[in-house]
């Protein structure tokens, strides 16, 4: 089993190879009762545009609520939803790819507030490029 996690300045990616069929993992990601078992209480439905919440126990500094909207549903390979909490908006994307022994699971959690997916794609200067460059940029800054 491989388990890699990389954090760039804005985007968090966690990838794991899991010895389970893709369809089964898709169920765990998209059936409300199953989601609750590993993530949080929710009223999720795998329908694009569906607004829902994840609910956790409130703690000081956090009300325990994550407001979400389903953005992409491509059974059984891709699922994207918004993730807004305490005024911080971000997006979570799950990508499942079959492998010889099971399924490669990739989760990307990225924050790009107030930029909708259309302009994100259309932007000449996209987040991905920015983040890719930024690592080098910050390295260089240390030397200035």
């Amino acid at each position: 089993m491989t388990n890699t996690a990389t954090a760039t300045t804005r985007s968090l990616v966690i990838e794991r190879e899991m010895p389970h069929p893709q369809e089964k993992i898709w169920r765990a990601l998209t059936e409300g009762k199953l989601i609750e078992e590993w993530l949080m209480k929710n009223d999720f439905q795998p329908v694009v545009g569906h607004r829902f919440t994840f609910r956790s126990t409130p703690v000081p500094g956090w009300n325990g609520i994550i407001d979400s909207e389903v953005l992409v549903v491509e059974p059984t390979s891709r699922l994207t939803y918004g993730w807004a909490s305490m005024g911080m908006e971000s997006v979570v994307t799950w990508t499942l790819t079959p492998t010889v022994g099971g399924t490669h699971v990739r989760m990307e959690h990225s924050g790009f507030p107030s930029e909708d997916s259309a302009s994100y794609k259309g932007a000449k200067y996209g987040w991905q490029k920015f983040i890719g460059n930024l690592e080098h940029v910050v390295e260089r800054l240390g030397r200035l």
Binding site: N3, A5, A7, T8, T9, R10, S11, L12, I14, R16, M18, H20, K24, I25, R27, A28, L34, E37, W38, L39, S56, T57, V59, P60, G61, W62, G64, I66, S85, M86, G87, M88, E89, V105, M107, H109, G111, F112, P113, S114, E115, A123, K124, Y125, G126, W127, F130, N133, L134, V137, V138, R140, L141, L144
Partner: protein, 112 residues
Amino acid sequence: MVLGVKQADANPVFRALADPTRRAIFEELTRQGEQTVHALTRFAGVSQPAVSKHLTVLKRAKLVRHRREGRETHYRAQPDALAPMADWLNHYGAFWRERFDQLENLLKRMDK
């Protein structure tokens, strides 16, 4: 629970960098060092008032600093301002790794 920490601090930084032109300006400053508003206007290919507006947003997020010299205003990047963004990612990193473990536990249980 990791989710509440530092989100409020990271938010202005995310917001400031949500705009592609502002990202480009910020990166140009980190790449080239200090730049005048004129130079940044040439670089960004938008009007000078537009560039000044973007610089004001970056300044509020503490991503840039400025100084005046004669008639020119010079800007430079403050990469330390990215720290809350990095904190946010660290907190979520711990959160999601734990949830991945729980997901795998669930998948094992589903077999039974």
